[in-house]
């Protein structure tokens, strides 16, 4: 899990793929909004670590699709939904 420093808007976690254009845009948006967040490229993980993170994503989003943004372990936003993400992080 990598951390991007920024304003504290709660625990913001981005599950992403390193090859995906929509994941890149989501990461860019969060960065531009100046929000502190953590992200992980699930496609670059291997073995047990990958299994563990896959199960984590499936818990929030059973379709296991990307990007998945989880805010404060409660609110889940699937896909690059700009306005929803903005609103959820209050920026």
């Amino acid at each position: 899990m990598q951390h991007v420093p920024g304003a504290d808007r709660g625990k913001v976690v981005l599950y992403a793929l390193s090859t995906c254009g929509w994941c890149a845009r989501t990461k860019e948006l969060l960065t531009d909004l100046g929000v502190g967040f953590s992200y992980v490229y699930v496609d670059l993980l291997a073995g047990e670590e990958r299994d563990r993170v896959v199960r984590e994503v499936e818990r929030w989003n059973p379709r296991l699709s990307f990007p998945t943004v989880v805010i404060d372990e409660a609110k889940v936003i699937v896909g690059f939904r700009k306005d929803e993400i903005r609103e959820a992080v209050g920026a």
């Binding site: 390193s18 995906c20 254009g21 379709r63 990307f66």
Partner: protein, 170 residues
């Protein structure tokens, strides 16, 4: 990582995809920078897995399990019809390409893992069922092309995907 992909290779694959798309009546996303990013992702996946699985989906690395998400994926055509773009937005419809209409965000149409396993078993049953036809009918899961012959063609003559993308239709 995408950075490791050689830019000349990106140009080459982009050119090939574009030529094939236009010849078949499909269109690549006109946002060049975005499209180049997706092509980098396709090349990264080819390097990793040996096939160009969708850059916006998590591949398993097992070709048989990933067949439906090898680009062009099984879901491209229905997503073009419903949203004007495929899931990763590499392909768009003519009206989106020309700017007459904006593409809508595409929700994931690929069934979750348990549902995919069930569908796979169902397909295996169909292919074992005794037929009353002189020939089995095969359907290309990408473009819908049908042919009645003992085996599907090596390459789909319509959309150019490989034989393993065909399913028994009747």
């Amino acid at each position: 990582m995408p950075d490791a992909v050689n830019e000349a290779e990106v140009d080459r694959l982009l050119r090939d995809l574009e030529a094939e798309a236009e010849a078949g009546g499909y269109h690549l996303n006109p946002d060049r920078e975005f499209t180049r990013g997706l092509v980098r992702g396709l090349l990264a996946n080819r390097e990793r897995y040996g096939y160009i699985s969708c850059p916006c989906r998590l591949a398993s690395g097992n070709r048989e399990d990933d067949l439906d998400i090898i680009c062009p994926c099984d879901y491209r055509d229905p997503d073009l019809a419903d949203y004007g773009a495929c899931y990763c937005a590499l392909y768009v419809t003519a009206d989106v390409e020309s700017g007459k209409r904006a593409a809508a965000p595409v929700p994931e149409r690929r069934p979750p893992p348990a549902e995919r396993r069930r569908q796979k078993e169902e397909r295996a049953l169909v292919s074992r069922a005794p037929g009353t036809l002189n020939y089995p009918v095969w359907r290309c899961r990408v473009c819908g092309y049908l042919c009645a012959r003992n085996e599907p063609p090596e390459i789909c003559p319509i959309c150019r995907v490989s034989r393993d993308r065909f399913e028994r239709f009747m």
